[in-house]
Symmetry: C2
DNA sequence: TTATTAACTTTGAAATTCAAAGTACTTTTT
DNA sequence: AAAAAGTACTTTGAATTTCAAAGTTAATAA
């Protein structure tokens, strides 16, 4: 009976950030509006989760204009992907030992 | 790009409760001291997480004496195992779509 | 010029998590 | 017999986290 919870990354404990990273693992540059829609949260809430992941350098921001509209997009950094993969690893181990 | 975070169970967002349930999925009746040692938390903290899961009827309590020492043990209920399995399912989907 | 849109920031409240200390009851040690 | 220790808590309060709502900025559209 081993204990894997020590390998879980605190940054990904929240379901919102779990969802965000999951989306950003397979999509390069997803914009604010899309994230908001996918995660079904208010923009203030999303902005603060983004800030948390950005502070850890797990995601990066790209600001541009599409046509004449401002568009902010987010992508997982290499570090972010690595960290998230590690978290998923820990989750998988936990799942396996739970079966 | 589907979104699976809606299927995650809020009761299992905390790593402590995640760890507890993971232990109780494969071990029938684990006692307070063992859980405390495995999870590396204070007894007050453990007690409150236990209370949370008990309130949801995800775990049940058995109080007995072993020799002359009081011994309190916990087991996952059927509902608890079901709920946890559902949570792990959601996590697995999230993991799969993140690869 | 007023309204709208995008992407925030700020504020504050609610919820969560946690450690520390206290408690009750018993057993062990001195 | 008295003091110390163990088990399993409960209570308290503080720190952290999460969240929604409202306000902000800057640009565009009506």
């Amino acid at each position: 009976m081993k204990n894997f919870i020590g390998d879980l990354n605190k940054a990904f404990e929240s379901r919102v950030r779990l969802g965000m990273m999951s989306i950003l693992m397979v999509n390069d540059y997803v914009d604010f509006g899309t994230l908001k829609e996918q995660l079904q949260i208010t923009d203030g809430n999303l902005a603060s989760h983004i800030a948390a992941l950005e502070k850890l350098a797990y995601i990066e921001v790209r600001k541009q204009f599409i046509g004449k509209k401002p568009n902010t997009s987010y992508a997982a950094t290499k570090q972010g992907k690595q960290a998230f993969a590690g978290h998923l690893d820990a989750l998988e181990k936990l799942i396996k030992q739970s079966i």
